[in-house]
């Protein structure tokens, strides 16, 4: 019976994914002569666009650093990981990097069915910086789509590659890129009963990993501020000094941490407003949990919800005018939207099961959430009016969706029971079609990811 039930749920899930793929997630590759080369993420055909990324040319005295291979390889990794591009095998390229310094022979690239070609050159500047210039070619249109040139210190070669990846992605999809970004998350180790949790940060591809806290006190739910330099999180770090478990702020530039404020009860579930000047959070006292907003300049707080229910996990719409949150005011846990001043709360979720941790997409068109139903956890999406609900990921426990800039890709975490009874907790990346799920590699177990906005130059 149990097995049958599981199979049934699985079947429904597969059907769900299939239908959402069928209706929503068609990928179209357009390459008519007159129209610019572009992938339409929301319509069309499913296949990834075949692209060629040649190794770059480089000055002789820079050669030993292998940047002429490493930079194109990192660009290729980014684009392929997005699921929208397929890298053509370099063994099949008929022109070598040197032959590509002038305009490519497009016919040679059409033979291997490349639709776009990326070429590049690395040179050394007088101030010891490197200059990386790349060109993106439309193979069928036989023209250069764009060229850019970036210079920086040699050690910044990864960021250079990420920025180039974003430019190419943006040119070919029309969507905002998300490669020059970071992810802050909770790194976990030790037994479930006595879990060590510390804040950690890394580039979106897992590079430049570092820990921000030492693990002596419990930390949860870090979230980036829109200005990129601050993180807010929930921690028990002050409880030995008589402080309640509270919301904290962490300055990434200075490494300094401070408590947001002292409140009568616990403060948690923090998130910044889109312009970074306010912060919404839950305050719980006497058994009820309500949403409050704090102006970060004058530290004035205002209560937005009232009553004995649990109102938590608030998240702003990108225009700052509305807040989506999780409440059990109707009995079960559901999603509600209210104005930023707390007025006009309206329920938007009506399906079976519990809905939690809603997060508004940076494009405004979707709300991602965690759903618990029939003993399984799901990551789902719905439009802000509650329509078109669909589930894109599943697990023993999946939780905490976070949006990459552009609003087409998400990260979340998943706990999977292991044969020995332990839990494996890892971060995953998935796109809104529910396809192309992949694990983000972290040194230890990982949870509560928060994707940064684009890095600031």
């Amino acid at each position: 019976m149990y097995n049958f039930k599981r199979q049934f749920i699985k079947l429904i899930f597969i059907a769900y994914v299939f239908f959402s793929c069928f209706f929503m997630s068609y990928y179209k590759v357009v390459f008519a002569q007159e129209e610019p080369l572009r992938i339409d993420i929301m319509g069309g055909k499913i296949q990834a666009m075949p692209i060629a990324i040649s190794y770059f040319t480089i000055e002789d005295d820079l050669k030993e650093l292998k940047l002429h291979n490493n930079i194109p390889n990192l660009i290729a990794d980014n684009l392929v990981n997005s699921g929208l591009f397929k890298l053509l095998n370099r063994d099949a390229y008929m022109q070598n990097p040197e032959q590509l310094i002038s305009s490519p022979k497009f016919r040679d690239w059409r033979i291997i069915d490349a639709q776009a070609l990326i070429t590049g050159n690395i040179s050394k500047r007088a101030d010891n910086k490197i200059n990386v210039s790349i060109k993106l070619w439309d193979v069928y249109g036989e023209k250069r789509l764009f060229g850019i040139s970036l210079s920086s210190k040699i050690k910044s070669w990864r960021r250079i590659s990420h920025i180039i990846s974003d430019k190419i992605y943006e040119r070919l999809t029309g969507e905002e890129g998300y490669f020059d970004t970071r992810i802050v998350y909770v790194s976990e180790s030790g037994s479930q009963k006595n879990r060590k949790k510390r804040l950690a940060i890394m580039d979106q591809d897992g590079a430049n990993h570092q820990y921000l806290t030492d693990g002596n006190s419990l930390v949860l739910t870090p979230r980036f501020s829109p200005n990129q330099q601050q993180i807010t999180f929930f921690s028990y770090r002050g409880i030995n000094r008589g402080l309640k478990p509270s919301v904290y702020l962490y300055n990434l530039k200075t490494g300094k941490m401070k408590i947001l404020g002292e409140f009568p009860g616990m403060s948690f579930a923090p998130r910044f407003s889109p312009n970074g000047s306010n912060l919404v959070m839950s305050l719980s006292q006497n058994g009820s949990t309500n949403i409050h907003i704090m102006n970060l300049k004058d530290k004035q707080t205002k209560q937005l919800t009232k009553g004995i229910a649990i109102d938590t996990s608030p998240s702003f719409s990108p225009d700052g005018k509305n807040i989506v949150f999780n409440s059990d005011r109707s009995g079960g846990q559901h999603l509600y939207i209210m104005k930023e001043n707390g007025k006009n709360p309206k329920r938007i979720s009506f399906g079976r099961g519990s809905y939690a941790t809603p997060v508004w997409s940076p494009r405004g068109d979707y709300i991602a959430f965690t759903k618990f139903t029939r003993g399984r956890f799901f990551i789902g999406l719905m439009h802000p009016d509650g329509s078109a609900e669909r589930l894109i990921a599943e697990g023993y426990l999946t939780e905490g969706p976070t949006w990459a800039p552009g609003g087409r890709v998400l990260s979340f975490f998943r706990q999977t029971p292991q044969k020995d009874g332990s839990m494996r907790t890892r971060l995953f990346v998935i796109d809104i079609t529910g396809n192309r799920e992949r694990e983000l590699i972290t040194p230890e177990d990982a949870s509560d990811p928060s994707w940064s906005p684009k890095n600031i130059n």
Binding site: S191, Q192, K193, N194, R195, K197, L218, L220, T221, F234, Y236, I239, K244, P245, G265, M266, F268, A269, S282, S284, N286, G287, S288, T289, I310, T312, S313, N326, D328, Q333, S354, A356, T357, T370, F372, G375, Y396, L397, E399, G400, Q415, P417, G421, M423, D448
Partner: protein, 186 residues
């Protein structure tokens, strides 16, 4: 072997010193169960002894601190109550336990307590923080209704972060939906 004698001898000397010096218990902690010895002061003295049987060994038991005694008494009384899934209702069994906690708190009017609320893993972190607070508060309010002053009771929620038992089945979930009472140190 000689090392062993030295340790035992140190105990004797120390326990003698301790019993003489107004029972300064902080300097010697003897774990009643394991017999583990932790010597925190620097006054360790070593003496050589040739034959164990020649010197009768006197072992003095170190009394529990007031705090330890109270904690173990609270555990005997019942330090925790349990809840149904996504609930914070004090049922009859919980009421019975809390009645005993009330009597304990009345017998010991000087102590204050912290109630920690906990949830099983089947909920999101943030919702469970709130739910744990609701459970802790349910216990607090029950004790207040029996006559305990609210100033003696603090509530902290750990949500699903500090489960009592590991495991991912009904039994584990039942054990982890709880509110536990702790005595505050001073």
């Amino acid at each position: 072997m000689l090392k062993y004698f030295k340790v035992i001898a140190s105990i004797i000397v120390l326990s003698y010193l301790v019993s003489c010096s107004n029972k300064d218990q902080d300097s010697l902690l003897l774990d009643a169960e394991g017999g583990n010895i932790e010597i925190s002061s620097t006054s360790t003295e070593e003496i050589e002894i040739e034959d164990v049987t020649a010197t009768p060994i006197q072992i003095d038991e170190v009394a529990l601190t007031v705090e330890e005694k109270l904690s173990s008494e609270l555990i005997d009384v019942g330090d925790r109550v349990f809840f149904g899934y996504d609930e914070s209702i004090i049922n009859d069994e919980s009421a019975n336990t809390l009645q005993k906690q009330y009597q304990f708190l009345t017998r010991n009017p000087d102590i204050s307590i912290t109630i920690t609320g906990h949830c099983d893993e089947r909920g999101t972190r943030e919702y469970n923080i709130a739910l744990g607070e609701r459970r802790g508060t349910a216990v607090k309010n029950y004790l207040i209704s029996l006559g305990i002053s609210s100033s003696r009771i603090a509530v902290i929620s750990y949500g699903k972060e500090k489960p009592t038992v590991e495991g991912h089945d009904d039994w584990a979930w039942t054990q982890n939906r709880t509110a536990v009472t702790f005595i505050n140190s001073n």
